[in-house]
Symmetry: C2
DNA sequence: ATAAACATGTTTGTGTTGTAAACTTGTTTT
DNA sequence: AAAACAAGTTTACAACACAAACATGTTTAT
């Protein structure tokens, strides 16, 4: 019955990267967060956070608004519907993986 | 309550690659498999399978014995204790991830 | 016998990735 | 004015995943 290993590779690679899963997980729960907050929360370097956010944005998973908080530039991130769906899909994927690999070992 | 998202990045990257998780999952359940069997089962190309097996072997997660089946070369793979432990650890990791991201969305 | 096809892997080439370091632009402090 | 700080972005680079090409040998057709 368990011969269905192949679907393990059926994964959203963008979210499969833990740093980005972390970002999306935060954005799913708060619905809005700025760059500084995300950096503190994730512990990522600014460079990496920047790259990951750009990637998520290009995929349409998040929206990025650039504004100013007084004179200080501010980058505000918000998950999109597409992003939320992708997140939920990935969560289901993970659950199915856990089940699949739990019959062994 | 603030979850510790940061532990999401605490992952065995070698196993986090779905192709290799697939290979390990098979090897955990059968305890011994040759190259051809693995290729059929995983659907990977021979080239990729070769590279992944080498990588798993270099990490000490599997043992590879090269023999002959009659005149035909045969590569037999077997998971090691280290590999099995890593697999089980990864499984626990995945479970914890599912829990962590399930309180949101 | 000799060429063609097959079998089992490995190596090479290529485009992508994740990460830290260096950089940019502007603001605040000294 | 200079130095330090803040918020991001860009660059440099080693590692990666993958498929195509290669290598080595065996079997089948002619």
């Amino acid at each position: 019955m368990n011969e269905d290993w192949r679907t393990l590779t059926d994964v959203d690679k963008l979210i499969h990267e833990p740093s980005r899963l972390m970002i999306l997980t935060i954005l799913v729960s708060v619905e809005k967060a700025d760059f500084v907050y995300l950096q503190r929360e994730t512990g990522l370097t600014r460079g990496n956070l920047s790259v990951h956010l750009t990637k998520l944005s290009e995929a349409g998973y998040i929206d990025i608004q650039k504004t100013f908080n007084g004179k200080v530039p501010q980058t505000i991130c918000q998950i999109t519907d597409t992003g939320k769906q992708a997140f939920l899909r990935y969560r289901e994927y993970l659950k199915s993986v856990v089940e699949k690999i739990s019959t062994s070992g």
